[in-house]
Symmetry: C2
């Protein structure tokens, strides 16, 4: 049975969606990882960063979603961070039930495609990794990843900006 | 009767609260105004600023709340802005029915006190204006207003930082 205190920790789902439309970030990093056969690791994550004065809300979000880790971002800033395919699939279910309202929904759509490709283990093949890197480069501020910068094949075709319009 | 299109423009109240907890700003400016007897004008306002890519959400928020004006903030940024005591009282009612969840709630509480003082015309008296300036200085990043900087009486007492703890 939930105590009164625990019940207070729970947030309205629509409130969370609104807060995420403002403050949330879906992000896919592609990091050099010499230990992996393909040499690169795909690291999708979701995070919400807040000043430490609002760390309580990060705990409430984690408690309501039932997933996530609270960790220092840098300096006075903390984040609730969700990683790992199983947890991210739960997060995706949440946002499929409760629609994002801003253009962040487009990032979310791309993020879902990447998670889908990873579920099919495509990030472990060269072709799949290229596909994921192109998708990831079209998210957020469309910053080219280190992987794309170092991948001559893709850089030479250099038409991914046009092909990835969403 | 609402058309299907108009209904689409309406947002869930809890979504709005979440978005405002992330992106909204309650602000009270105190501007020099030689035309006014007291020499200063108190200008309380609420705003949400977004990149132009998300201007649609500003219109949806305005349509749902039934108040607000969409205007350019600067460059690629637009805002929905709510000014005027009658409109701000409607906004206050909304956030009294639907609670903010972050520390922004404290700013909101101070904002309410200022609106209350203005309703009692206290901003038109020296004593009331001082009271409002002290309250306003404890909001957001606690930046001293031009009014407080120029008000020798208050600056010399210089204990408002301690007295205004919230």
């Amino acid at each position: 049975m939930l105590s009164a205190d625990n019940q207070q920790e729970s947030l309205d789902a629509e409130w969370i969606v609104g807060f995420v439309d403002g403050e949330g970030c879906f992000h896919v990093a592609i990091n050099k990882q010499p230990k992996m056969k393909i040499g690169w690791q795909v690291l999708p994550e979701f995070r919400i960063v807040q000043h430490k004065r609002d760390i309580k809300i990060l705990y409430k979000i984690r408690n309501t979603l039932g997933i996530g880790q609270i960790t220092r971002n840098h300096g006075d800033r903390f984040e609730v961070r969700i990683r790992g395919l199983e947890n991210l699939k739960k997060l995706i279910n949440f946002f499929q039930e409760h629609n994002l309202q801003t253009t962040k929904k487009e990032n979310f759509g791309i993020f879902c495609k990447i998670i889908d490709l990873m579920e099919q283990k495509e990030h472990l093949t060269q072709e799949g990794l290229n596909k994921i890197a192109l998708l990831a480069s079209s998210m957020n501020n469309r910053v080219k990843s280190k992987y794309l910068e170092s991948s001559e094949t893709i850089c030479r075709t250099s038409n991914y900006d046009n092909s990835m319009k969403i």
